[in-house]
Amino acid sequence: MLIKRAPDIKACEITPHAVYLRRREFLAGWAALGLGALLPQPGQAAPLDALKSPLSTAEPQTPLKDVISYNNFYEFGVDKDDPLKNAHTLKSKPWKVKVDGLVGKPAEYDLDDLIKDVALEERIYRMRCVEGWSMVIPWVGVPLASLLKRFEPQGSAKYVAFETLVRPAEMPGQRGVFQPLPWPYVDGLRLDEAMHPLTILAVGLYGQTLANQNGAPIRLVVPWKYGFKGVKSIVRISLTEKQPPCTWNVQNAREYGFYSNVNPNVDHPRWSQATERRIGEGGLFVKRRPTLMFNGYAGEVASLYTGLDLKANY
């Protein structure tokens, strides 16, 4: 049996924790000196510590290279590889999230302050795209409920609305004559869906901060809904009494509803939703697999929809 030897690291070579905690100032110092280019890509991927979660699936995870190269993020272009090519221009630091609407504590929060007191969790979730493909992604994030409670939702609040950044200078899809969607990209959840323990705001995946093309620095993940409900690069969270608009629903109401729960029995008007292709599994000869009700999370979330006609409320 081969057992790798532990690496020899002298005690004096280990960064003291206090210095480690000040690593951003350290990086900022280098940047101020104009030496940022000498450092290996500081902004893109920083390691994150996260607790394991019983809500994670044990299914094989989609390779990182696929998770960061096959994306729908129309702010960076409509092709799947456009976000990887174009998202490097996004400056995701510093980042502010405006919280407003029916909350006791409306404010513009700095992202670091927003998540500093909440323990990060690893959530390995299935992700089903409305286009008929799926992935298994180890997200790192915080339950949305824990943040919402801090904002003190008012009794009249029934929905949560999310909004993506609009910054044409850094988002080529928002420039020029041909713009595929109206901006900002918006979507929303019912308050009880938002408070569900499965719903998270992700700040990373595969133990690292989010790559820009995956919605850096903070994005929504709702694993029982089609992927487009996962608003990326969030700059605003509003609590509302009325159902908030959703970009794809506004664009094409016949094809995309407010709920957009994964449902193999309700087809997209143009294609079947009964099966899906798991990315990174079998290459050219991959076989479709059956799509599961609520993307396999029926046990956890079906009770949210008792009495609701899921065919009419797609």
């Binding site: 799947k80 143009r270 079947s272």
Partner: protein, 228 residues
């Protein structure tokens, strides 16, 4: 002992036949299919290789359809006379459409005939796409000299006007399956629309008077393309 007969003169002829350009069009035209399939085998087609292969083949079918349709306008406008290569380019369009349909039925749907039939009946974009492919089948079958002789020039020409419908259906199929328009899609739609509009306009223009004189060169050109 065939080796000694392979002289410098006969080898190219063996490879490319009597019309080296025409043969090269087939060989070069099939390269995107071969190359894309190879990339798929060595896992270089991105995260969803099957879809990339399917889309790439479909796109090339559309591109070759556009090229086929462009040949008459190019000649009429005095740009170039490529009529003798139209059959090769048209057949390439059919080959790509056939490969596109094969990937869909065999790889994507796993030859699940019930699911394929359900798709054809229920999904308008599949209905239209399959319709476009079906229209190309009789054109491919009759794209050879014996069939042209058997049908006669006029009937053959009437039959081959189906390509207008097939091209329109192909681009509609493309439009129907995307979630939102891309510049590439707009380009193909505009190209096909203008190539079809060209037929409508020129047809009206030379309705009665110019018939005899306008037809003559066209017939000559066709006769030339028909020769084996």
């Amino acid at each position: 002992m065939p080796a000694p007969t392979l002289t410098r003169a006969t080898l190219p002829r063996l490879l490319f036949g009597r019309d080296p350009i025409r043969r090269s069009i087939y060989l070069v035209g099939m390269l995107p299919a071969v190359f894309t399939f190879y990339l798929g085998l060595v896992d270089q087609l991105g995260a969803d290789p099957q879809k990339t292969l399917e889309r790439t083949l479909g796109l090339w079918a559309l591109r070759f359809l556009i090229l086929t349709l462009a040949i008459t306008p190019l000649r009429r406008l005095g740009v170039a006379n490529l009529v003798r290569y139209r059959r090769a380019i048209g057949l390439l369009a059919f080959y790509y459409a056939a490969l596109h349909v094969t990937v869909y039925t065999l790889l994507d749907q796993g030859l699940d005939l019930a699911a394929i039939w359900a798709d054809i009946v229920k999904r308008p974009y599949i209905t239209v796409g399959m319709g476009a492919f079906t229209l190309l089948v009789p054109l491919a079958i009759t794209s050879n000299s014996p069939m042209i002789r058997r049908l006669g020039g006029a009937a053959w020409q009437r039959l081959h006007r189906l390509i207008y419908l097939a091209a329109a259906a192909a681009v509609v199929h493309f439009i129907m399956l995307v979630k939102s328009w891309s510049p590439e899609l707009v380009l193909y739609a505009v190209l096909i629309a203008s190539l079809l509009a060209f037929r409508l306009l020129t047809r009206r223009g030379r309705a009665a008077p110019a018939r005899g004189s306008a037809r003559a060169p066209q017939q000559a050109a066709r006769a030339h393309s028909v020769r084996p």
